[in-house]
Amino acid sequence: MTKQRLVTGVLLFTMTGGVLLAGCSSKSDGAQSGTSGSNAEPKKDISVSIYDRGNVSPDEGTIENNRWTKWMNENGPANVKYVAIPRAKPEEKINVLYASGSAPDLLFEYSPKTKDTLQQQKQFMPIDELIDKYSTEYKKVLQDNPALKKAGSKSDGKLYYFGKINWVEPNRGLLIRTDWLKKLGLSVPQTTDELYNVLKAFAEQDPDGNGKKDTYGISLSSNSNFSLKQMFGATSKWVVKNNELALDWDRQKEYYTFAKRLYDEGLIDKDFTTDTNGAKAKQDFITGKVGIYGFLTSDVVTDTLMGTIDPLKKNVSGAEVAFMPYPKSPFGAFVPTFKNPVQMVAAISATAKNPEAVVKYIDFSLKDTTTKALDYGIEGTHYKMTDGCPEIMDAGKSKKQVADLTLDMRMLENIGISYNKCDVPMVAFKSDPRKDEYQNTYDSFRSTYMTFDRGYPELTHSEHMPTPPKDLNAVETNADKAVGDIWLKATVSGSKYSIEQAMKDAQDAWSKAGGAQVEDWYKKWYETDRSNSILADDIFDIAKKQNEQYKKIVQDMK
């Protein structure tokens, strides 16, 4: 009897305690939403994906649970559960999540192929109405930048992707050793024929003056090869002829003829096929063995200047380099490819239970106060304001506590819109003694390659090429590989295998692999969806506008 009473007592006590606790927690919830926003309704639960790059310091927690995820939850409009997607193999994790019905409500992913495949499987919901009803910030960006709508809509005419406007800069370029040119009495090559002569001289006339024939003109691997190919407009297999999309063979032929000649005459390192990631090519350039180097750059100052030019000058005294515009080919003069001006990065999953909360989260992440905090951290702790611009106080601390954690929360930031005087290298690096050099490098890079009287080497930025349905996609991949193998064989086989023969074999291989249906699909896409797609002209338009903006910012600073 006493035992039973005791149990009841305990039970009662627990229940009252529970009620009390619940009362407390709901009170504090109310207080929180009161401070954070206009509406008193409770925050809803959503899940958002975030890349895990394995670089979070152990003191900071994990990528899905750290000071900034907490910050987003405290200040933002929703209770966000972050789902880590390993950066190493995002598509595998993403596919598994979607296939098993445990997709995050808001998916962030750069790769158009991964997103398009999911979209074709109806895994995303259309977002036009959601934006109309619930969004203010993104709606405004969308209205000001119709390109975002164009790029985010799919063939059914509905909008599926959230995107951002990037700051357009050239994505690639060529560095040439001007001290070698001077020594050999040559000038920067203007055409591909002149380029051949320069490469020949670099390889044969001992430009480094060590008495040995141990230098090369350029490399045929990775990015150098890519730039070389881009000069001939041959990086994409499509060209527009008479307003119709067509498969191109002429440019390929011209380019491989050029490459074969370089190979046969020993003007390049013949081991290029083993240098798959271009590390050897870079190494040869920074140790002064190669005269021209094609690069892919994320940021010309921190990546190219500090990562390539500085090491070169350290290794080879007296080395001088300049950015070299693409020489004119028989198919015209081209600019290198630009960074994608309108990049699609996010979509709402069809399974999302609170899509309006997702839209509000996106709006919150686009607010000026949010982007500033995610960019620079907390004022006074991570940065201070000098001359109206934020200045990072301790680079190491800021990387650990801010950049490493927030980098992939900022995927929707519109750098192309917000670009201002604080982002110009001279200001961004104002306490660095080399800031003028940085500024000059940046300006020279822009003025060399942002020349709009030239052609764009591809139909559009590769991220804006459409994704064919899965089976055609496989056919295309296989056909491309077969054709590529034949060209490679022709390049390295000397007189045994001529380019003419290779082209014939390549065409055969293409049609044998079922290339015709791929051609048809792309042709049809170009016919019907051309006006709804971001093509080279749109890229140029945005680039031109931003270029004017940049000139004005620099003007105002003087």
Binding site: A88, K89, S298, V402, A403
Partner: protein, 293 residues
């Protein structure tokens, strides 16, 4: 018999050639060690080959303070140790019955298991099963689906079958039960195969990648392979870092070559250290003399 002069020369040359071949397997490892301790500039210029140039331990400092590698190392050890114990226990308990001739239906059971070598459920069905069993985000998702490797089990079964039946008879006469026979006679006689399979399982668990990537959601529970792969991959994805607002943050995210090498070393070394200790179990001739005529 003494070797003739020709034979002597043959052995000398043979040994040298084989030693060189053996060394070529070591070179990549030596190169990785050298890179891990070298100066970034020297690495980029390609001057590092077999010994560190510009001695530098910064890669390890930033590896241990800047990345969650210690936690990942702990996770790897947990996954491997518990995984090996579970797998070995299950493998022995599977291999023993089907090695016994008196076991009814052993042919059927053996074939049923061999069947799984040829056909598997595929990634997504397996994922769904794991998910509905409530194993998500738990290491049991790594241990249970791959508990018994059929191949390893068959190797063990064959080894058990080769134990002379006279030993069985003798122990029975001495009054040994089935369990005691397994524990006191079969297992001690099977040390070589147990050591080998422990190593097989150990290496598999230590290197496990895809299951961790897919089943484990909490990044704090990742193992070394996933962590290091993530770090390496981040560097290859420079292009997307482009648009991050803070310019200074961009370069900061690039993982230097030496850091990669240091990460690889942390993965490789423990396994390398374990090998010599297991070596002594690979003793031949354990069976010799166990049957006296």
């Amino acid at each position: 018999m003494r070797a003739s002069l020709g034979e002597k020369w043959f052995y000398i040359i043979n040994n040298i050639v084989l030693a060189l071949l053996g060394l070529t397997c070591l070179f990549p490892l030596i190169n990785t060690i050298a890179i891990a301790f070298s100066d970034t500039a020297a690495i980029e210029a390609g001057r590092v080959s077999f010994y560190p140039i510009g001695w530098n331990t910064e890669a390890f400092t930033s590896l241990f303070t800047g990345t969650p590698i210690i936690g990942a190392f702990r996770n790897s050890v947990v996954i491997t140790v518990i995984g090996v114990v579970l797998s070995m226990a299950a493998t022995i308990m599977t291999a023993y019955p089907i090695s016994r001739r008196i076991f009814y239906g052993r042919r059927f059971f053996t074939l049923a298991m061999v069947f799984t070598i040829m056909f598997s459920g595929g990634l997504i069905p397996t994922y769904l099963v794991v998910k509905s069993l409530g194993l998500m985000n738990s290491y049991f998702a790594l241990w249970l689906p791959a508990l018994v490797s059929t191949y390893n089990m068959l190797v063990m079964r064959t080894f058990f079958e080769n134990i002379p039946s006279e030993i069985d008879d003798a122990s029975r006469i001495d009054g040994c039960s089935e369990l005691a026979y397994l524990l006191r006679i079969v297992l001690p006689l099977s040390l070589p195969v147990i050591a080998t399979l422990t190593l097989f399982y150990g290496v598999t668990y230590w290197n496990t990648f895809l299951p961790v990537l897919i089943y484990i959601q909490d990044t704090g529970r990742f193992n070394l392979t996933v962590l290091v792969q993530n770090m390496i991959q981040s560097q290859n994805l420079l292009q997307e870092l482009v648009n991050s607002g803070v310019t200074s943050g961009v370069q900061a995210n690039v993982v230097p070559e030496s850091l990669k090498a240091a990460g690889v070393l942390v993965i490789v070394l423990p396994m390398l250290a374990v090998y010599p200790f297991l070596q002594k179990f690979f003793v031949k001739g354990v069976m010799l003399g166990s049957v006296k005529g």
